[in-house]
Symmetry: C2
Subunit: 278 residues, 2 copies
């Protein structure tokens, strides 16, 4: 079955969805996006993701022709057309086909759905191995398409036997390229970085889940705190809550009771969101 995408007002077969080389994404890496998973044929936390999408677009001077309601209808249409069981949807807004390759033009808008296999409980148990790297994302509050450093580092990740990157800015922990970072201290405080990061939708859900049950701090985390943490995990729309098994040389214990607790509550909250979105 053909997969469709929505591109500038039309549904197009994905393999035929193309942009001019003059688009500012290709010319200057200029664009924003948002990404959310689709479960049981419904987009997860769609309101939060659309809010962030429009905020990112506004920050980058990119006008979205469609209203949030219209865009939501397009997303539901696409899900109906494509009928992909496990998937994610990415809405991208780029700088448009620039006549001089530098000035902003009328933005291009693309809504694309792609297969995506949710993590298994084995992957949860195994956890993820992170490699630290000193880098501050530019315009960190905006979900831009800039993943230059992350992709540049992919061969190094393989060399180091790591799965993903943990950025720090001169020793101050920030985030992974596509996930937020949390640790649990020896005295059971849940801590997550507060500054110069993307405010993840899943991160916010996890914070709201945790607050009634444990002490929560959003503050600067120094890299020296990592090895003394009781538990470490990352959050994202695709990874949900995923324990970290190793950071650089340091290996963490594998029981992860707090991560397990938050993961199961997040699963419940997600299902509840899908039911109430009916």
């Amino acid at each position: 079955m053909e997969t469709y995408v929505f591109l500038n007002g039309e549904y197009v077969i994905a393999n035929e969805a193309v942009l001019s080389f003059r688009d500012l994404s290709m010319q200057r890496g200029y664009g924003i996006f948002d990404f959310f998973s689709v479960q049981n044929g419904k987009p997860v936390f769609i309101e939060d993701h659309l809010n962030r999408l429009y905020a990112s677009a506004a920050s980058m001077h990119l006008a979205i022709k469609q209203s949030p309601g219209e865009l939501k209808a397009i997303i539901y249409d696409l899900i109906q057309k494509n009928r992909i069981v496990n998937s994610g949807i990415r809405v991208t807004v780029t700088g448009g086909n620039s006549p001089d390759g530098y000035s902003l033009a009328t933005p291009n808008l693309l809504v694309a759905q792609q297969h995506f296999t949710p993590l298994t409980s084995d992957q949860f148990d195994k956890g993820i191995r992170l490699m630290t790297h000193d880098h501050q994302r530019q315009l960190p509050h905006v979900k831009t398409i800039d993943y230059l450093m992350a992709i540049h580092l992919q061969p190094r990740l393989k060399e180091m036997g790591a799965d993903d990157i943990l950025y720090h800015n001169n020793g101050w922990i920030r985030e992974c390229p596509r996930a937020n970072f949390f640790l649990i201290t020896q005295d059971e405080v849940l801590v997550t970085p507060s500054l110069q990061i993307l405010k993840g939708i899943t991160k916010n859900k996890v914070l709201s889940i945790a607050k009634p049950f444990m002490k929560v701090e959003e503050r600067e985390i120094n890299i020296s705190e990592l090895t003394i943490a009781k538990e470490v995990f990352i959050t994202s729309s695709t990874k949900k809550v995923l324990p970290v098994s190793q950071i650089d040389e340091h290996v963490f214990a594998k029981d992860n009771p707090v991560s397990r607790f938050l993961h199961s509550h997040l699963t419940a909250l997600t299902l509840n969101n899908l039911v109430t979105a009916e």
Copy 2:
């Protein structure tokens, strides 16, 4: 007359030159390029630009299928086909059509020629107004397609009545988004930043022109040195040597004897390069 571009092995009409939305430039802002001007039907300093292009590509794990000789032949073919009098050529290499929107794939290669009007002597006399901004380009030695910050700041530039941005990293001068930075001190030393910048082809030419005539220093420049400079200018393939008339609130004197001297020598060196490239 139609303008052609060279895209992945074929000459294509520019208005029909498209890339899949799966290309990593649109997905993740991932790509590199180089740009050079064409004068009298010949590419200027083509060897230097091709050397840098292949170096940028290698840094970013992007394989270029064509040898430098083959690419040069394509560039000359394109100039023959298009016959644009004043123009520049941009060779772009992107991450390719990624199946998962993140992993590197077979790179897309595009050679595009575009109209470009050289600066007039009036524009030289008027100079350029810069606005400082605290920002360190990521992977600064590589000519990537990342101009996210520069384009994001365009509306602010207009508000401030400036023409371009001068990046500094916590007070240490770096470069403009598309040009290198020079100043002449009160005791006639030509100074240009040494660290965390793109090594401009025009910058290198200007340094080699200047060295027999004046003292030259490549070193860190603090933002506090700007207002006490005798002369300030920027260099690039399109701007050649262009005096700076203002940085933020500070206005510079308009005579610019050193900039004038270097500009005329650069013009001569460029013409000489075109003749010997025959």
